[in-house]
């Protein structure tokens, strides 16, 4: 009953907003639909491509544009399932006010809205085939965080970890590498991670100047040095245990080399990597796995905390052992394993092979288990552990009760790297970083997932669609959050003093 009332109230509010908007077309800048136009006979080549995508019911406006070098103007008409319509368009861009867009979404929740697009070219209007945007019932986590960094090689300058409100376009800074750095050599920040999508327990690393791992525990900030006598490095790739104040890390000796002609351009590789468990309360580190001949990396917990999944390299062919990276780079492959974990005794069970990628000449990285524990996502390429530089890398999804992966072609692109997959808290939205726009700058793509089926992925919306061209940074390590980080940059910076 309460739900029904809530729904009615929302519908009434949506209707009121819509009505108000229709009464004030000129104030809101709603253009008229062209009185006459020529049928283009095809879908519009809009950027980003939002044709027939499925979006969350709380996502920010899906602003888009027609190619500026081909069109002079664009008008789009959005029709909701209840028959109401609204038009947008200024120049070649369609940019919608957040409140109006949310009214449209509210009116289309669980259904589809129809979009008709007209493009003006040399004083003639073309009308394109209409397309639909499907509005899912399931919302997406309200916040997303990522590191903004040039698709760089060795040199870095300004970098920041930012958080974005997915229901609007607001982007704020969690931390940047300049605020507390007084050394010209600079500081590198990376690997932000949260416990259970919440931000009162989180971490990120800082390296070079005043390096360490910044850990927020119940809202209190501290910096710790995770390099211990018995570890090969400080903590690198983190995974918070879902219930306890424990963090699994890989420790890595990481290097990078450059291809002189290969399209992949960069190879990032480890010469050693192990797994450790860090106890936040006692500041103690214990070894999970440290096979000296193989490389263990990318730990991630099952949602119940009873299993730790991770990737582990397979032995190199006999003839390549002892060879350097110029001979081995394309032969290093990782499989997916797991170990059971007993929280009370803090002991790990025997290693189990979960997915044998190497036997299919593939390599698995960055696993993430779905919140319902039924699926596991990972990035899969032919070789190596750093798939964001591998053009052949795709996101794969393995039902944990099966041996083979399910089709995620709707999420993946052809010939461009996809990496760093993750789930929303309700398990209905998959997000990954992809270089598909131009092969160089990674952007965030989101896909609807339900009962083992994914829908066409859509690009993270921006207020100005050209923002994707103007921002010369990559979106690195996108992570969902259900709440924003409440600690200010200044507060974080104090742990470096």
């Amino acid at each position: 009953m309460t739900n029904m009332l809530g729904l009615k109230t929302k519908m009434l509010a949506a209707a009121l907003v819509f009505g108000a908007l229709l009464l004030l077309p000129s104030c809101a800048g709603h253009p008229d639909v062209p009185s006459s136009s020529k049928d283009a006979g095809c879908l519009p080549a809009i950027f980003p491509d939002y044709c027939d995508v499925t979006v969350p019911c709380n996502i920010a406006p899906l602003n888009f544009m027609l190619p500026a070098d081909q069109f002079d103007a664009c008008v789009a008409r959005f029709s909701t399932p209840d028959g109401r319509q609204q038009t947008y368009g200024k120049g070649v861009k369609v940019q919608m006010p957040v409140s109006e867009w949310h009214a449209i979404l509210d009116a289309s929740k669980g259904k589809s809205l129809k979009v008709e697009v007209w493009g003006q070219k040399e004083n003639e209007w073309l009308s394109f085939a209409p397309f639909e945007i499907h509005v899912a019932d399931e919302p997406i986590d309200e916040y997303l965080s990522y590191r903004l960094i040039e698709p760089s090689y060795i040199v870095y300058d300004y970098m920041e970890i930012a958080q974005r409100d997915l229901t609007s376009f607001e982007e704020t800074q969690i931390f940047n590498n300049k605020v507390s750095c007084d050394d010209p050599k600079g500081q590198c920040i990376n690997c932000h991670s949260y416990q259970n999508y919440k931000t009162d327990n989180m971490l990120f690393h800082a390296r070079v100047t005043r390096g360490g791992t910044v850990i927020v525990s119940d809202g209190k900030v501290s910096k710790v040095n995770l390099k211990r006598d018995n570890t090969i490095s400080a903590g690198v790739y983190p995974a918070w245990h879902p219930t306890a104040k424990l963090i699994a890390f890989s420790t890595n000796l990481t290097h990078q080399v450059f291809h002189t002609a290969h399209p992949n351009k960069v190879e990032v590789f480890d010469t050693a990597s192990d797994l450790i468990l860090y106890d936040v309360a006692t500041d103690s580190v214990s070894i999970i796995s440290n096979d000296s001949t193989l490389l263990e990396v990318f730990p991630t917990w099952s949602p119940d905390g009873r299993y730790l999944y991770y990737c582990k390299s397979v032995p190199l062919p006999e003839e390549l052992r002892g060879e350097d990276i110029s001979a081995t780079w394309s032969k290093v492959q990782y499989n997916l394993y797991r170990r059971s974990f007993e929280l009370t005794s803090r002991t790990f069970g025997e290693e189990e092979l979960v997915y044998d990628a190497a036997s299919a000449d593939k390599s698995v990285t960055l696993p993430r288990v779905s919140p319902d524990g039924r699926y596991i996502l990972f990035a899969e390429g032919q070789h190596g552990c750093f798939h964001i530089w591998h053009h052949d890398a795709d996101i794969a999804c393995l039902p944990l009760a099966q041996d083979s992966v399910i089709d995620l072609s709707c999420l993946n692109s052809e010939g461009f790297a996809e990496s760093y997959p993750t789930w929303s808290i309700n398990g209905h939205w998959i997000m990954c970083a992809s270089r598909r726009i131009d092969g160089n700058y990674s952007r965030v793509f989101i896909s609807y997932f339900n009962n083992g089926k994914a829908r066409k992925a859509f690009l993270l919306p921006q207020e100005d669609p050209e923002h994707n061209t103007f921002r010369l940074k990559s979106y690195n390590r996108p992570e969902f959050m259900v709440e924003p980080v409440g600690i200010s940059v200044d507060q974080f910076s104090k742990v470096f003093q």
Partner: protein
């Protein structure tokens, strides 16, 4: 009568001094045209919200944004220079009003202008590595804005000064250190009162308050005295280059304190002379510095004939110039006929700060691109652009590289950004030349470490490429094995060169090297090639001369210098006396 004559004389001195100073400014900007073009080529201005927000999130960011936009005008150095001169002319006029200078004392405004001029011409090789956005205009625009405010403030009654101090505080995010300078000048312009005391308090705490209230995510060093240029990179720093700005502040404070007492006839002469001497003593002047810039501009446009013309006029080229010249010879022909005649011993760059600037920062992306090493060109473009900004130079070379690798969407991104530049509205990357394409396809993929020695990589890589079936690569392999003075590489590459160039004349420098290696480092199984008798006779004469010169106690460098005039254009001289590059 005497008074009128004295005033007349003072006016004459003032106008003559102004004329002399203006002539000096115009002359200096004229001879720095290549520097100004390079300023636009290496300065970042990216259209759109991300670049704008990045800048305005810091105090003085709006000035930097305006400065970055205006720097684009240096595409036509004369246009940018005219604008700069116009801003300085306004500074002179507004400054005279703001400080209430009259007669001869107005010439005092030449001193701040000399400081701003100095900051334009003293950078030297910092131009390739510093990352201060909008540097070229932001200080002049900021200073002009400060003077306008001061003028406006001094036109109002003194009781309003407190409001002006508050305004100075409020506009700190826009004017940065110039807002503080404005408050300081306003205090010094009139006799102290309780208002000035409040002004002092505001002045002292303005930056801290803004840091606490608004800029808490910024490094305190970037908020205090925001906008005052600091020249720091991870490996270099210079306090020398900050001197003109401290001098600018000092002169600006000095003028309200002493300006009224400096109206004697000789003041304009002194100011103009001081300004000229000051700027001359700080300006960076080096022929290779500007020739390098000219060659870079021409090489970026694939104008190889002009590159060769500039190279031919320079007797002591730098490493970058040698590299660009050899690429020009590869494209225009004559590498093995002319290269050693023009000299292959690059000189080190001259700079007062002992900067870590090299071919890597100056020309490496262009060199790698033209040698077909496109991935390396992309990497070094990124390394440099991340440190200094995605300037037109890097956007253009990245677009060219992307076209060469077939990444059309990347080409589109960079050309879209360039098309918002006032002078690149229709820019498109030039088609990939046959040479670049041939070189690009001649090499298999290889794994390369973090070695940033571009010159060493090119020399080593080409000299070990004797097995190629590309005619261009075989020529480069022979050339760089000669540069390397490696007899094993030489013999391997000359065999391949002869095989791939069957109907061509045996180039002069290859003959010279062949004779020398046959004499000094022959292979067991010799390759017999016809050489000109004249070249062989010269070789004998070279050794006779060398033996005569080589006496006990005489240093090799001295012998090399003595023999340079007659033999400096031969491979033999290079082989023995030339600077070792690897």
């Amino acid at each position: 009568m005497e008074m009128i004559q004295r005033n007349k004389a003072t006016a004459i001195f003032l106008y003559v001094s102004l004329l002399a100073f203006i002539s000096f400014v115009i002359y200096l900007l004229y001879i720095n045209q290549e520097v100004l073009y390079t300023a636009h080529d290496r300065s970042e201005f990216i259209v759109g919200a991300p670049f704008f927000h990045t800048l305005v999130s810091k105090p003085f960011g709006l000035m930097q944004y305006a400065g970055a936009w205006l720097t684009q005008l240096f595409y036509h150095p004369a246009l940018g220079a005219c604008l700069l001169v116009a801003i300085w002319a306004l500074i002179f006029l507004v400054g005279a009003k703001a400080f209430r200078l009259q007669g001869a004392a107005t010439a005092l405004m030449l001193l701040p202008i000399a400081c701003l001029l100095t900051s334009i011409v003293d950078l030297g090789y910092w131009i390739y590595i510093f990352s201060i956005r909008g540097y070229w205009f932001s200080q002049s625009v900021g200073y002009l804005a400060m003077l306008l405010l001061l003028w406006a403030a001094r036109c109002t009654p003194r009781r309003w000064h407190l409001a002006w101090y508050l305004l100075g505080f409020c506009i700190y995010p826009v004017l940065g250190w110039f807002a503080l300078l404005f408050m300081l000048c306003l205090m010094l312009c009139d006799r102290p009162s309780w208002r000035e005391l409040l002004g002092v308090v505001l002045l002292l705490f303005t930056a801290s308050i803004w840091r606490t209230l608004v800029y808490s995510n910024q490094n305190p060093d970037d908020v205090m005295l925001a906008g005052l240029p600091r020249f720091i990179t991870p490996i270099d720093s210079s306090s020398y280059l900050s001197i003109p700005f401290w001098a600018l502040a000092a002169f600006t404070v000095f003028i309200p304190l002493c300006g009224r007492y400096l109206s004697r006839w000789f003041v304009p002469v002194l100011c103009a002379a001081a300004g000229i001497i000051y700027t001359c003593s700080f300006q960076f002047s080096d022929r290779n510095y500007t020739d390098e810039m000219r060659m870079m501009r021409l090489a970026s446009d694939d104008n190889w004939q002009e590159v060769l013309r500039v190279a031919a006029e320079n007797p002591n080229p730098s490493h970058s110039m040698v590299m660009l010249r050899n690429i020009a010879l590869m494209n225009e022909g004559g590498l093995l006929e002319r290269s050693f005649q023009l000299g292959n011993s690059g000189t080190d760059i001259h700079n007062p700060d002992s900067l870590h600037v090299s071919l890597l920062n100056i020309a490496s992306p262009l060199v790698y691109y033209n040698y077909g090493k496109v991935n390396l060109a992309i990497r070094l473009s990124f390394e440099n652009a991340v440190a200094t900004g995605f300037s037109p130079f890097y956007l253009k070379i990245l677009a060219r590289c992307a076209r060469a690798t077939g990444e059309e969407k990347v080409v589109e991104r960079y050309t879209t950004l360039l098309h918002h530049h006032p002078f690149y509205a229709h820019w498109q990357p030039a088609p990939i030349s046959g040479k670049v394409s041939e070189l690009q396809n001649a090499f298999a993929d290889d794994i390369n470490g973090v070695d940033n020695n571009c010159e060493g990589y090119i020399i080593y890589n080409f000299s070990h490429t004797s097995g190629t079936d590309s005619r261009t690569v075989s020529e480069q392999a022979l050339f760089y094995s000669m540069i390397r003075r490696d007899s094993r590489c030489f013999w391997a590459s000359i065999r391949n060169y002869v095989k791939l160039h069957p109907d061509e004349a045996f180039p002069l420098h290859a003959q010279e090297a062949y004779i020398m290696y046959m004499d000094k480092a022959p292979e067991e199984k010799r390759i017999m090639l016809p050489v000109e008798q004249q070249v062989y006779d010269r070789y004998k004469k070279f050794w006779e001369t060398l033996e005569k010169q080589a006496k006990p106690g005489v240093k090799l460098e001295k012998i090399g210098e003595d023999m340079r005039r007659e033999w400096g254009g031969t491979y033999w001289w290079y082989n023995i006396f030339g600077r070792k590059l690897l």
